[in-house]
């Protein structure tokens, strides 16, 4: 016998390969595997679970990360949002004290002025105050959110005025009693008449309607305000200075046995950075400015871009972990298959001898066992893909979680399971092919 050389084996294999031959070999392979149905099934279980868990986990992870990214994107990736938060010490005091007490915290007008004056690359700064009130048109009433803001609000939020105009710097400085209505408020307060020029009453004051905003889809920053269901889309836009004049900076809240008052100048400030690359440096500059001016941590800085980057990082790590799990489980699955194929080769030594005596060349034997292994792992891959595609549907259906099955993940998983068959099938197949026909025929 000449020393068996694997390269020669594969040259012969490729030279001899044809569709017809492959089809017959596949048919023979299925017959052999079918002879040991249970064993075949148990053999591929590793591959099945590997492929299935990878597809399912990818779909769940993809869904979660998509949701997170959408939420973050809706905040605007060029924006930096400053929010007033009640500092923890203040909270304690207000819980203990039964006497009236005015708490002062949050982002201030001075902060806004500082930011505009000292930080370059900031296109717009939009401070706003939110107050929930009832608005009246004679006897019609609507529960809405008063937004005290700045004249450049529309361009900042990409929200255009449909009729009339938005208030101006002059309105702002003059603390004019003017307001702009959202489309939802118009339909509630002025179902029949034209609103422009009319007056509405909020609290004890009257405001002239000077404009109406274009209708908009559902609110994007849904997580930030409580009780949004009633006031969704119902906004009354007023000059920030007017609101300050009318409501002052102190908000009163009645509590059992006492008043609680909070003084917050600005609830929220949105800083729009001119270019995406500057977002991080501007955010740092703002942090420093605020740290310098605030003794307590009574503000919060949200950088959507940073969150987005962090979400992307998290996803990358998740994918690496997932990839490792997938690799390990496919490796384990592949070793399982190789183990069984080696046992099968030994068990079928005599069959190999018979085939060799009847004219099978070594590469015919390689092809036979390789095809069997690939069939096994491929079948495992198919079952795994089916289960892996079904599981996300079940998860969405039962837990209501969003899942996304990317188009390539089943294809990739299936291809890899096929490759596992080839990689882990080669060694047993070569073992089979290198048997000496005489020895093989004498076996057992």
């Amino acid at each position: 016998m000449s020393a068996a050389n694997p390269t020669g084996l594969f040259e012969g294999l490729l030279h001899d390969l044809s569709i017809v031959r492959l089809k017959r070999t596949v048919r023979l392979g299925i017959k052999s595997l079918w002879l040991h149905r249970l064993r075949s099934l148990l053999t591929v279980l590793g591959i099945v679970f590997g492929v299935c868990s990878v597809i399912a986990m990818l779909a769940i992870g993809e869904g979660a990360s998509y949701q997170a990214q959408e939420n973050i994107k809706s905040l605007g990736s060029q924006n930096i949002i400053l929010k007033s938060v009640k500092p923890p010490e203040e909270q304690k005091v207000s819980d203990k004290g039964s006497q009236s007490y005015v708490m002062q915290y949050g982002v201030t007008y001075k902060d806004v002025k500082n930011i505009r004056a000292t930080i370059p690359g900031v296109t717009v700064v939009m401070p706003s105050r939110l107050i929930r009130e009832y608005a009246w048109n004679i006897s019609r009433r609507v529960d809405c959110e008063m937004v005290g803001t700045v004249p450049w609000y529309p361009e900042m939020r990409n929200h255009r005025v449909a009729q009339g105009r938005f208030f101006t710097e002059t309105d702002m400085e003059g603390r004019a009693n003017v307001c702009v209505l959202s489309a939802e408020v118009v339909s509630a307060l002025f179902p029949l008449e034209a609103p422009l020029g009319r007056h509405i009453r909020v609290g004890g004051n009257y405001y002239q309607v000077i404009g109406v905003m274009e209708p908009r889809g559902p609110d994007v920053k849904g997580d930030e305000k409580q009780d949004t269901s009633k006031t969704t889309g119902k906004y009354l836009y007023l000059p920030l200075e007017t609101i300050k004049l009318r409501y002052g900076e102190v908000l009163m809240r009645r509590r059992t046995g006492s008043f609680e008052a909070e003084r917050i100048q600005l609830h929220e400030v949105t800083v729009k950075v001119h270019s995406l690359e500057d977002v991080a440096s501007v955010a740092d500059a703002i942090k420093q400015t605020l740290e310098h001016n605030h003794k307590k941590k009574d503000y919060d800085i949200v950088v959507p871009l940073e969150l987005l980057r962090r979400a992307e990082d998290t996803k990358r790590i998740f994918n690496i972990v997932l990839g490792s799990i997938a690799a390990i489980s496919l490796l384990v699955g592949g070793i399982g298959i190789m183990n069984i194929m080696l046992a099968s080769v030994t068990e079928r030594t005599r069959e190999i001898g018979i085939r060799r005596a009847l004219g099978a060349r070594r590469h015919d034997i390689v092809l036979q066992f390789l095809v069997e292994t690939v069939l096994l792992s491929g079948a495992g891959g198919v079952i795994g893909v089916l289960l892996g595609v079904a599981i996300p549907f079940v998860v969405t259906w039962t837990a209501g979680m969003k899942t996304i099955i990317t188009f390539w993940s089943p294809i990739l998983a299936f291809t890899i399971s096929g490759l596992v068959g080839v990689v882990f099938g080669i060694y047993p197949a070569i073992r089979a092919a290198q048997m000496d026909p005489v020895e093989a025929l004498r076996h057992e």
Partner: protein
């Protein structure tokens, strides 16, 4: 001699077992003419199986020359020997050696499958041979559903399917009861009458008597070669 289909010239086979060298065949020369019907006999360990393996191209001689048809097969490559086995030789084994997961018909087809013959043609040939050995009713059966005699007839059909130069049989009746054994030998006699060349290794004198030429081996050498 020119008409020989098998020609052995001073064929030797030695096995190395560690430090010990076993000379299984120590210079064997003989020729086989078409239509010969040969029995090979001899005591255990005299080299019968070794000789049959060499004749069957399952192994290569250590030295000497082996002509099969007009080809020198003594130093052919493994792949070439496989092709020679598939195209020019037929094997009948003591223990039938059928493949268990395949049907009777598929078992008969194997040599043609490895020669890459078209499926329809192989099927027709295999079918014809199944009926020649009287198993046309069993073609879809699996080997374990058949008696020993029937299995050996399948093996004979398989040995005939490639229309070989020589059919090599190793104790073909060794595992059979006397009735089935006689049936197989009757089939061999008939094949030989039709011109097939047969070589069989046997222990049994009554089996050897069916052959027309008796070769006796002793210690790796031909002791006698008699025609009747």
């Amino acid at each position: 001699m020119a008409s020989s289909i098998v020609q052995f010239d001073d064929v030797r086979k030695t096995y190395q077992m560690g430090l010990v060298i076993v000379e299984a065949l120590r210079g064997v020369s003989f020729g086989i003419e078409p239509g010969d019907y040969i029995s090979i006999m001899g005591p255990s360990g005299c080299g019968k199986s070794t000789l049959l393996n060499l004749l069957g191209c399952l192994d290569r001689p250590t030295s000497g020359r082996y002509l099969l048809g007009s080809e020198d097969v003594s130093q052919m490559s493994d792949d070439a020997l496989s092709s020679v086995r598939g195209a020019r030789l037929g094997f009948v084994f003591q223990s039938y050696n059928l493949i268990q997961q395949l049907s009777v018909l598929e078992n008969i087809e194997i040599p043609l499958y490895y020669q890459g013959r078209p499926e329809a043609e192989s099927r027709a040939t295999a079918l014809a041979l199944a009926s020649r050995v009287g198993l046309e009713a069993r073609i879809e059966h699996k080997p374990f559903e058949l008696s020993g005699g029937q299995q050996q007839r399948v093996a004979i059909a398989r040995a005939l399917v490639n229309d070989p130069l020589v059919i090599l049989a190793d104790e073909p009746t060794g595992n059979l009861d006397s009735t089935s054994g006689k049936e197989i030998l009757r089939l061999f006699d008939e094949l030989n009458r039709q011109g097939k060349t047969l070589i069989m290794v046997t222990h049994d004198n009554s089996v050897a008597e069916h052959a027309r030429r008796a070769i006796r081996l002793r210690d790796g050498l031909i002791e006698s070669d008699v025609r009747r």
